[in-house]
Amino acid sequence: MADDTDKKKEKRTQSARNVRPLVESMYLRAHQAREQGQKVAYCMVMSQYDEILAAMDIVPVWTENYGGLCATLGTAQPFLEKAEAEGYSNLICGYARTGIGFDALRAEIGEAPQTPDGGMPMPDMLLGSSIGCDTRFKWYQALGHYMDVPIYCIDVIVPPVNRDLYEIKDFYVKYQAEQLRGLVKFLEKTTGSRLDPDRLMSIIHRAEEARHWWWKAQQLCRAIPAPMSARDHFNIFVPHHFMIGEEATLDFYKELYQELKDRVDSGIGVVDNEQYRLLFAGGLPPWHSMGIFSYFGSLGAVFPAQLAYPPPDPFTIPDNINDPIELMALRSFERFTYRWEQAHRGCGDFWVQHILDLVPDFNIDGLVMHGVMSCRATSMGQIYYQQAVQKYAKLRTLFIGSDIVDIRTYSETQTKIQIDNFLETVETHRSNKVRN
């Protein structure tokens, strides 16, 4: 990990510092809910069902977050080893191995293992989805070996980029709505409570407002010098991903916006001598060694944007939709296809398009991608992104390799050498451009 000298060079935002207490309160609340008989659900991020859970007073436990938390605090190893001892490949998702190991240990010893924030409370239900990767529905099925609780999974469909959106929109939205309705039916049966559509609609509005403020805050990061560090980027997504729909989340993003605006207005950057602006363009962060981003900072390299957890693209709630489930299904389609038309006309790929959109807007000098050994969904295609981007924008790319959780795959020394060499090539490339 980067040493303290590296850390001192970066100016962290207060907003990001506020995240850890929020996470502690999130787990505390889940434990209290469990004790008080409120329904607790294991959940997967980005499953499009967050607001439904909030509207039904179901307390979510975001199992991927727990994997990341354990990795950040250096407590994941016993869980990884337990999962592997149970026969799970050391190549499956690091989050899943952490979660499976945790639940396998709980089943074995009869109580939650001693872990950060009291561990994950025993859930009343497991809610998977197909968004993003196959692990998100296979993981919970694997947990059936360690707990006897109902599982419900939904499809979350991302339209293929090469399609005529007008041709597919109706049946894609219809299917998404049917999937969400199936979930609501399951939740109503499991909790014995009815979903209040008005309450759901009101939560959606609040959530969208929070998303809007986050998106606006992100736009401030176009400023030179960049007002927020990579480590802060990888913290401030937390309220959105895990506490959406709450007043505190809306307040958080309003405050984040104000803090960044103050910094931009005052010309305060993350580092004193900003030299390189990089885009984290592929993979998920190495949660076990986040200090590596401070090492970038110590060399004058900042990350004005990142694509691991970017704010959702803008979406305007139409006035003519009264059914909140219809609205959520439409929103899902609109967000996933936000860049499709442009990708059709240009590079043909939405991810590459996203990179190409950000490069001029955020004055990006180079790309950094993290090849995650245990994550096909975010790692497969990184070379392709780099090669496709080169057709439109000549940018240097750094590929680092390790895992989201498993530190055994990581070499700090080697990574630092790679970073040193990479920044030299960025510098050379930039000098050559100026000369030409």
């Binding site: 149970e86 490949s89 196959d134 499809d155 293929p160 299917y175 090849g371 096909r376 497969m380």
Partner: protein
């Protein structure tokens, strides 16, 4: 139809000459369309006189050029197949169809297109969930796929042509099931290696030709004078795209008879027929959602519900042990394996769980593992 007695030999030749044979078809003006996975509705291609060609890898060669384009944390079957593409081995393809089955499939099409552009490509979004809404969604997807193929060939698929294509593919499924019945005898009347070669041959030729081959094979089995192998421990192999007969051959060389499989390249793709309905597209959608038991689809239920069919297979085919032969980086199978293994053990079946690269370059190690397991069954 004249039935020759050379079905098994012909299958062996076709398997070995898959690529040259497909090139000849392409040079004669046939449009050969590559496809991945058993979720591609090949019936739609057959109905338009296109030749579906199942993309394979090459298990006896290391990946040579694909490493420059594809990450190493990806399923090595996909890497091997893509390596062949990069090396020009699939240049006879007119097009490529990829269904969204797993994370690797989700990504491979764009990568392929960037480095090996094709005249025609199509990506089919296949739901990961089962149920009526999933079937209805897939039906819409397949209608658009059909439309896209119609544009490719410049004519419409008639209802009759589609029904004929479904019947012809169902005929292949039924004939394969018939051949599998000959594995139930002890010793089996056709070896696992022979069947694997027949299946491999079928993945590269038009289905009508495959049906003729299957009839020849059935004739061979019925008229052969000696069993292909003696009494041996009987095993079932479970896994993904085990497309090369050499793996089955190796297991049989080690002293077992592979009498049943649950593989993407085996029974998984033909154990159920497309059920006839008034609406042929509805039939196809229901088949591809409900009937194929790849772990890429979420099926509710505890292991004794989800895997009961496998235990039924094992009992029906009088199996003594099960080999879970999984490829590294295949998350669907990897996340299923421990529960499946525990369930099979509870049902009294010893299990060998292997997680391997798509290669035979480590044949010696594999042989040791297979031999040790088979000895325990003897």
């Amino acid at each position: 139809m004249t039935i020759s007695s050379r079905g098994l030999e012909r299958a062996w030749e076709l398997y070995q000459d898959r690529l040259p044979y497909a090139r000849v078809m392409a040079s004669q003006g046939k449009k050969v369309i590559g496809y991945f996975c058993c979720y591609t509705p090949v019936e739609l291609m057959t109905a338009l006189d296109l030749v579906p060609y199942r993309i394979g890898g090459r298990i006896d060669e290391p990946v040579k050029e694909a490493d420059a384009y594809l990450e190493t944390c990806v399923c090595s079957y996909v890497r091997s197949a893509f390596d062949l593409a990069i090396r020009g081995e699939y240049d006879f393809l007119h097009g490529l169809v990829v269904p969204h089955t797993c994370d690797a499939m989700w990504r491979i099409l764009n990568i392929w297109k960037l480095h090996r552009p094709l005249d025609y490509t199509y990506f089919i979004e296949v739901p990961h969930m089962v149920g009526p809404s999933s079937c209805q969604f897939l039906e819409q997807e397949l209608k658009l796929f059909k439309k896209s193929l119609e544009q490719l060939v410049g004519r419409k698929v008639t209802d009759e042509a589609l029904r004929d294509a479904i019947d012809t593919h169902n005929r292949a499924r039924a004939l394969l099931q018939e051949i599998y019945q000959y594995r139930k005898a002890d010793p089996p009347l056709i070896s696992g290696t022979e069947i694997a070669r027949v299946l491999a041959a079928g993945r590269g030729i038009p289905v009508e030709e495959f049906n003729e081959l299957l009839l020849q094979v059935i004739h061979d089995i019925r008229t052969r004078e000696s069993e292909p192998c003696g009494k041996k421990p009987r095993v079932l192999i479970y896994g993904g795209e085990v497309d090369d007969p050499a793996i089955i051959e190796l297991i049989e060389e080690c002293g077992a008879a592979v009498v049943m499989d649950d593989l993407c390249t085996g029974s998984r793709s033909f154990w159920e027929l497309v059920k006839p309905q008034e609406n042929a597209m509805e039939s196809l959608a229901a088949h591809y959602i409900d009937d194929i038991r790849c772990p890429r689809t979420f099926r509710p239920g505890k292991p004794d519900e989800r895997f009961l069919y496998l235990v039924d297979f094992a009992r029906e085919f009088n199996v003594q042990g099960v080999i879970l032969y999984l490829y590294r980086f295949c998350d669907g199978h990897a996340l299923e394996a421990p529960s499946l293994k525990a369930y099979l053990n509870r049902e009294g079946f010893p299990v060998l769980h292997l997680e391997e690269e798509y290669t035979l370059l480590t044949k010696g190690q594999l042989r040791t593992r297979f031999q040790a397991f088979i000895e325990t069954l003897s």
